[in-house]
Amino acid sequence: MIATCPECAAEISLPADTLESEIISCPECGAELEVISLTPPTLALAPEVEEDWGE
C-alpha cells in the first residue's frame, strides 16, 4: 500500500498489516503520522497528546 506524507509529500509504502489509527513516522522528513484510513491509505499529522492520564 502506498500513501503520501502530508508534510513532505513523500511516497510511503505501508506494510500489509498496518492498522487504522496506527502511528508511523515518515522515512523522509521524520514527521509523526497517523494512519487515518486504509481504504484508501491516508495519513495525517499525529496529534500532540500530553502524557498525563486520568483514572
Binding site: 492498522l19 489509527s21 496506527e22 502511528i23 497517523e34 499525529a46 496529534p47 497528546v49 502524557e51 498525563d52 492520564w53 486520568g54 483514572e55
Partner: protein, 267 residues
Amino acid sequence: MLVIKVGGSAGNNYDALCDDLAARGSAAGPVVLVHGGSDETNKLGEALGHPPRFVTSPSGYTSRYTDRRTLELFMMAAGGVVNKSLVERLQARGINAVGVSGLDGRILAGKRKATIRIVEDGRQKMLRDDWTGTIEHVNSGLLRTLLDAGYLPVVAPLACSERGEALNVDGDRAAAAIAAALGADTLLLLSNVPGLLRAFPDESSLITRIPRNDVESYLSFAEGRMKKKVLGAQEALAQGVGQVVLGDARVAECVTRALAGHGTVIG
C-alpha cells in the same frame, strides 16, 4: 476541614469508616468524603460482557480506557451504587450525607483526553472516544453551600468537561483537588494498605513520615495506584493543604487512627 478519599477495593471497610465518622460527630469539623469505583466498575463490566480494557502510554503509564459504554458502567457503579450505599450507611448512623459527583454543579471542571496514544502489541496507535479526563479546577461553591448547611458531601469521581461531557477522573487526584480548593487541613487517602511501603507488600516496611519538600524521592517506592496517591499528595501540599495522610481503610477507627499519625504522614 478534612477531605477523605476511600478506595473501592475489596477489604476496605465502609462500615468501619462510617462508624468512625459517626463517633467523631460534627464537632470534629466539616468533612468531605470522596470515593472511587474502579473495582465495582470492573466487576460490573465483566458481568455484562464489557470487561475493562487497560492501555499503556508510550512512556509506560497504564490507565483504564473509558469508552462511552465503560463511562456508563462507571456512572452506574461509582455514581450509583457506591455513592448511594455510602450515603445510606451515613444516613443510618445519623449523618445527613448528600451524594453527588463532580459532574453535578460542575464541581470538578475537567479536560477530556479524547485522543490518547497507546502502545499495543508493540505498535503505537491513537485511541479515540476516551471519556477519561484530568481535573482543571474545582468549583467549590456547591460543596461550601452543602457544608455550611450541615451536610456531609459524598463525591463520586466524575468530572464535567468544558462542553458539559461527563468524564471519568482519578478519585485520588479528585480528592487532592477538592482538598486544595477547600483549603483543607488534612487530606486522608485511605486504601487497603497501611500506607506507603518501602518493600511492598511487606506491611512492616511502612514509611511513617515524608517531609513535604522531599516527596519526589519517595515516588520510587510507589507502584500503580499508590503512585497516583503520592502524586495527588504532592499536588495537594503544593496548593496549600496542611498535611496528607496515607491510611489503612481496612481497620476500625481508620480516620481517628490516621489523624493520630498511624500510616504515612506527608507534610
